[in-house]
């Protein structure tokens, strides 16, 4: 039986969530030979408040294009977290930016709260790579695609001259996730 893994990336316009969606989808479809779809919200909500991008990865046909049974959800703002949490499936994982999402919704899911934006600014001096840090964490938490595939997809999606910075950001995300996994190993 084929697997189907749904990832929802939510936050606000300008946080680079669509890029993360594209990288994940291309890592799966181009470099892993899996099937993938990537969609993004548009409309007034994407032009101001909460916005989202979704990736569905499967080893079979994706004949069900909407993500409604989310395995892993990223929320980079409180508003996006509140708005899009409903579709997170029981036992799923909610990854939030610990600074931006203060009120964690209650539910039957695992919560991973990490200082994503703060790490981008403090460790790498660039707010702009916070999305790639989030990608590193997502990669580690989901285990759905390989590290090499994601790195290839990152290189193929970021501007020339910024590849190393983005790969550093990706590694920062992996480190954050590994620390969290170690601390929550029980």
């Amino acid at each position: 039986m084929s697997f189907r893994y749904e990832i929802r990336l939510s936050g606000a316009g300008g946080q680079g969530l669509i890029l993360v969606g594209k990288v994940l989808a291309e890592a799966a479809a181009i470099y892993e030979g899996l099937n993938a779809t990537q969609s993004q919200s548009y409309g007034p909500e994407a032009r101001g408040g909460a916005s989202r991008s979704e990736v569905i990865i499967s080893d079979g046909d994706i004949d069900y294009p909407k993500a409604e049974n989310i395995d892993l959800m990223l929320a980079l703002t409180q508003e996006a977290c509140d708005k899009y949490i409903a579709d997170l499936k029981p036992g799923g994982t909610l990854l939030v930016d610990s600074q931006m999402v203060a009120k964690i919704p209650e539910g039957d899911f695992k919560v991973v709260a990490l200082p994503i934006i703060q790490s981008a600014v403090e460790r790498l001096g660039k707010f702009v790579v916070s999305n790639i840090i989030a990608l590193g964490i997502l990669y580690k938490l989901s285990g759905i695609v390989s590290e090499d595939s994601v790195k290839h997809a990152i290189r193929a999606r970021v501007p020339k001259g910024t590849e190393e910075l983005n790969l550093q950001a990706f590694q920062t995300g992996i480190d954050l996730a590994e620390d969290w996994l170690r601390q929550n190993a029980h």
Binding site: A12, G14, Q15, G16, I18, L19, K22, A25, E26, A29, I30, N35, A36, T37, Q38, S39, Q40, S41, Y42, G43, P44, E45, A46, R47, G48, G49, A50, D61, I62, D63, Y64, P65, K66, T77, Q78, E79, D82, Q99, M100, I117, F127, V128, R155, A156, R157, V158, P159, K160, G161, T162, E163
Partner: protein, 1005 residues
């Protein structure tokens, strides 16, 4: 052996490597599969049927040839992907080469950009449609294919994704379509670009497609979001059954077009959505280090063109095609359309080339060397060359901002017509056209607010209600009164429900509700005091969630309507301001409104933290100069604005205007320096600047008033060379800021009744103007002589027969500083008044001052509050002490740093003690100024408020004080030391001892 095609292909790939990294996907596909593809074509003897060195005019035919040559699906898909990748690169290089050639030979770059965008868009659609068609043939052969139509709904030239809308005939066939489109999506993601089925995300059930019935179900009851409608209105059938599209157009799309004599509520809803977006975007300032062509112009321009397209029923698809028709048909707006054309073609081309050469993202970062290098490549592609005066990218960025401005100007001009059209077709016509006549009011619904909120449900989510607000703001107040009556006549319960509904509605569009509150406050100020209104506002503020979106919306409101926001904040009670501050202080990262947020936060804090006395100035300034609010955090700019305001006064023709602007200048400077002081600016600097502007104000006020009186008395303007002078006395003479009164002494060295009358009328007018600034002018001697102007004869008369209070008048004269008058006057004044009546009687004056100090101490000892001015060791002690020294040495200059230096130099043995005394005097003055700005304009300090002074006081002095109690202790200490120092200094100077300085209760808190 490699063929010529292989060598050309190598060139193609090396050239592709210079494009953005996302082209790696195509390079990877080609490198992996080209040999197999070439071998396949070669084996079938089809080489002459293919275009592998230049972009194919018939990619559909060539893909079909490939499809017909392969049996294995997996290999076929790889071959097709490879072919697509080759054609995609060829397409873009063709576009770039033609662009480069044309830009180097033609000067009209906008026309070239237009042709580039249209040609590239058409080529891309040709290629992508061919690919999709071929894939569909594989995944859904025609024999099994149900009826459907695929529409392109996005911008044709966009290559980062393809936006599609698929209309089917219902659920019975959807599963088949979904499977096919799912497979097609996956292939497109791997070899081309991702497909987005935007419409299906909103319409219908699971699947990539939706039926016309699904659209009805979603769109009939409500307008939904205007972006969805924009996509639909833009739809062009690419593949499938044309009849379905025609039905879709007739049943769904056409109703968003204006139709005379028909129900236009769908058209209205679409327009309101578009206008809301345009208005929001028009006032957005791009952040310094971040461009976004969509945000900076393209969305606004396209929204405007959608509005015009549906209003004028223009049968064209792309924005450029719509614009082309408008340019030809509407000559009266030709200039604006031409500006739109320039902005649209420039920004679209910039965006396209940035996405081609750099990254498929909307945001363009400018703050790194890599980013600058990447922009240089875009600039070269846009035809810029490095010049001695600027590099190519600098020229391009300069033009970017020019076109951003051009977009705003043109859209602003055309918006008026669209808004007017909206007013004519709206379902709220009775509201927007209510007149002051009874018949007009009669056409209004029974309960206006209830009816409006019910009717507006159809428009849920739209943010443009300016036409309704304009009607509510009509000076005739017919609608506003009916609107308010609609609330007030309901029962408490029903009113509460209605208010709650408005609040829910307003939380999504704070601009509208805050504007409504502003209109009510302006037109019906009595309502503001009612429990109904206050509860309304309070519930609204507490309904606002502390989220990013709320912060954005509030910032946007400040940006759109700074005056409205200022007036709204100025009437909010402290607890509501605290709530807004708490929302705005939430962690926030969005660069495009970082500055706005800081400004709004600062404005909230000013209204929250400071005294009513100070806030009045802030409210007045920003009510008049709301556009300056955005400079609130920029002190150098505020300083420049103040200078400009002052210098601009002379440019007004009428005296009334000059008076108004002069008053504005005073308010502005008062506010600016108050903010600086609260921000921790050095106290001495603020006092110096305050004195400077305050003198400017009084000097110009005198000139204007003299001109006004002179104009009224054209026949009898007396000549009065060196006869009149105006002195400031009291605090202002000593360079003290933020006083709520002016001590003025107006002296005339003449008793000519004509001159006296003339001068009195000037000062009378000055008095009237000064009071309007919330400052009370105190004219010394005016009470005594029953006129504003005091003559030398009056003073002689007074001092020749001194009474027990004459020393106070003497001290006023001794401390006065001339702001209007000549040095000749000053010499005469010194010779005829100061010397004979003060210096020659100095022992009497000094004794009287001693007694005064003692009497004040005795009085203060019985007070239960700290008086920083009159208390022992307070400001007055120091000032009286210096008066005594001045009289002792017969010096007449005012109490300034120059005088203090003179004292120290003249009597070196007092220098250290006196220096410490002066420093402490400044500290006390600083505390007093802060208390005035933050708490109230009182000299009696309340201990409970001192906490609020700690931060700015410590910032300015580099002190580490933790609390108001510590500050109180510091004040205590200073005042005790002052008393001791003054006693000691009196002894050193050999002056009489002050008998009442010991054993005082200095600070009762």
């Amino acid at each position: 052996m490699k063929s010529a095609i292989h060598y050309s292909l190598t060139d193609l790939l090396s050239r592709a490597a210079e494009l953005g990294n996302h082209h790696q996907k195509y390079i990877h596909n080609i490198e992996k599969n080209f040999d197999s593809l070439f071998a396949l074509i070669d084996a079938r003897h089809l080489i002459d049927q293919f275009h592998l060195l230049r972009f194919s005019p018939r990619p559909d035919r060539e893909m079909k040839l490939i499809a017909n040559s392969m049996a294995d699906r997996e290999t076929l898909l790889e071959m097709l992907g490879c072919y697509y990748s080759i054609q995609f690169l060829l397409l873009n290089f063709k576009a770039l080469d033609v662009l480069h050639m044309k830009l180097s030979t033609t000067t009209n770059h906008h026309a070239i950009f237009q042709s580039f965008l249209m040609r590239t868009g058409n080529d891309f659609r040709l290629l992508s449609a061919a690919y999709m068609n071929t894939l569909l043939e594989i995944f859904l052969p025609r024999t099994k294919r149900p009826d459907f139509v695929i529409c392109g709904v996005g911008t044709r030239v966009d290559q980062d994704d393809i936006d599609l809308g698929i209309v089917d005939t219902g659920l019975e066939n959807r599963a088949v379509l979904t499977t096919a489109f799912g497979a097609m999506s996956n292939e497109m993601l791997k070899y081309a670009c991702s497909l987005h089925y935007h419409l299906s995300e909103h319409v219908g059930t699971q699947g990539y497609s939706a039926s016309i019935d699904d659209y009805h179900e979603l769109l009939d009851p409500k307008i939904q979001d205007f972006v969805l409608i924009s996509e639909m209105v833009n739809a062009v059938p690419i593949l499938g059954k044309r009849e379905i599209f025609n039905q879709f157009k007739t049943e769904i799309l056409d109703r968003y077009y204006y139709s005379p004599d028909h129900d236009n509520k769908y058209h209205e809803g679409f327009l309101r959505g578009l206008l809301g977006e345009i208005r929001d975007l028009m006032y957005k300032e791009p952040p310094e280090n971040l461009l976004n062509p969509k945000r900076d112009g393209l969305r606004m321009l396209k929204a405007l063109l959608f509005a015009l397209k549906t209003w004028k029923r223009i049968e064209a698809n792309t924005s450029l095609e719509v614009l082309d028709i408008l340019l030809k048909n509407e000559r009266h707006n030709h200039e604006s359309y031409n500006q739109i054309f320039q902005a649209l073609t420039f920004l679209e081309t910039f965006r396209f080339l940035y996405q081609l050469f750099v990254v498929q993202e909307e945001e363009v970062h400018l703050d790194s060397e890599e980013a600058r290098n990447n922009l240089q490549r875009v600039a070269y592609a846009m035809g810029y060359e490095d010049r001695n005066y600027a590099r190519a990218r600098t020229q391009m960025l300069t033009h970017y901002y020019d076109h951003h401005k051009l977009a705003r100007i043109s859209v602003d001009h055309l918006l008026t017509g669209i808004t007017e059209h909206l007013r004519e077709i709206t379902i709220f016509y009775p509201i927007t056209h209510v007149s002051s006549q009874a018949s007009g009011a009669a056409s209004l619904p029974g309960n206006v607010p209830l009816d409006f909120i019910q009717s507006s449900r159809f428009f849920q989510g739209v943010r443009f209600w300016d036409d309704i607000l304009d009607s509510l703001d009509n000076p005739n107040q017919v609608l506003l009164k009916r609107f308010l009556d609609g609330f007030l006549t309901l029962s408490d319960t029903r009113r509460a429900v209605l208010v709650k509904t408005y609040i829910k509605w307003g939380a999504k569009t704070p601009f509208t509700l805050i504007s409504l509150f502003g209109i009510i406050a302006k037109r019906q100020p009595k309502i503001v005091e009612t429990e109904f209104f206050q509860k309304f506002v309070q519930d609204f503020i507490f309904e606002l969630e502390p989220t990013l979106e709320t912060i954005s919306r509030l910032c946007q409101t400040l940006n759109l309507a700074p005056q409205i926001m200022n007036n709204f904040l100025s009437v909010l009670p402290t607890e509501l301001l605290a709530r807004l501050i708490a929302i705005l202080e939430k962690p926030y990262w969005k660069p495009e409104i970082t500055t706005l947020r800081e400004t709004l936060l600062m404005l909230c804090r000013i209204y929250h933290n400071n005294s009513y006395y100070f806030k009045r100035f802030v409210q007045r300034v920003f009510n008049t100069y709301a556009e300056y609010i955005t400079s609130l955090n920029n002190q150098p700019k505020m300083n420049q604005l103040a200078e400009g305001l002052f210098r601009n006064i002379d440019n007004f023709d009428s005296l009334d205007e000059k008076f108004e602007r002069l008053g504005d200048y005073y308010d502005f400077e008062f506010m600016r320096l108050g903010i600086s002081l609260l921000d921790g600016a050095p106290f001495e600097k603020i006092n110096r600047e305050f004195t400077h502007f305050s003198d400017n104000y009084l000097q110009m006020l005198f000139e204007l008033c003299r001109e006004e009186v002179a104009m009224a008395d054209q026949q009898d303007v007396p000549e009065m060379h060196d006869l009149l002078a105006i002195f400031t006395a009291g605090g202002h003479a000593r360079g003290q800021a933020f006083d709520d009164d002016y001590d003025l002494i107006v002296l005339l060295n003449s008793s000519d009744p004509l001159i006296l009358d003339f001068c009195n009328r000037i000062i009378q007018k000055m008095n009237k103007r000064i009071i309007r600034r919330s400052i009370i002018p105190q004219f010394r001697f005016a009470d005594r002589f029953r006129q504003f102007v005091t003559t030398f004869d009056d003073l002689r008369h007074l001092f020749e027969r001194p009474d027990e209070n004459s020393f106070i008048d003497q001290s006023q004269l001794l401390g006065a500083r001339m702001i209007v008058g000549s040095t000749h006057f000053l010499k005469v004044f010194q010779r005829e008044i100061i010397t004979p009546f003060i210096f020659q009687r100095k022992s009497d004056f000094i004794q009287a001052m001693h007694n005064e100090i003692g009497a004040r101490h005795s009085y203060s000892a019985n007070s239960d509050r700290l008086d920083i001015k009159e208390g022992p060791g307070g400001l007055r002690d120091f000032e009286n002490f210096v008066f005594i020294i001045k009289a002792h040495f017969e010096w007449s200059e005012p109490l300034t740093d120059e005088l203090y230096s003179r004292i120290q130099q003249s009597v070196p043995k007092v220098a250290t003690q006196f220096d410490a005394l002066v420093d402490d005097y400044h500290l006390l003055k600083h505390i007093r100024d802060l208390y005035r700005l933050i708490v109230s304009n009182e000299d009696h300090l309340e201990g409970i408020y001192l906490d609020q002074l700690v931060r700015p006081f410590c910032l300015a002095h580099g002190l580490e004080i933790e609390s108001g109690a510590e500050l109180a202790e510091l004040i205590n200490q200073i005042m005790r030391q002052n008393v001791e120092r003054i006693v000691a200094l009196f002894e050193i100077f050999g002056l009489a001892e002050i008998p009442t300085l010991t054993g005082q209760q200095f600070f009762p808190f």
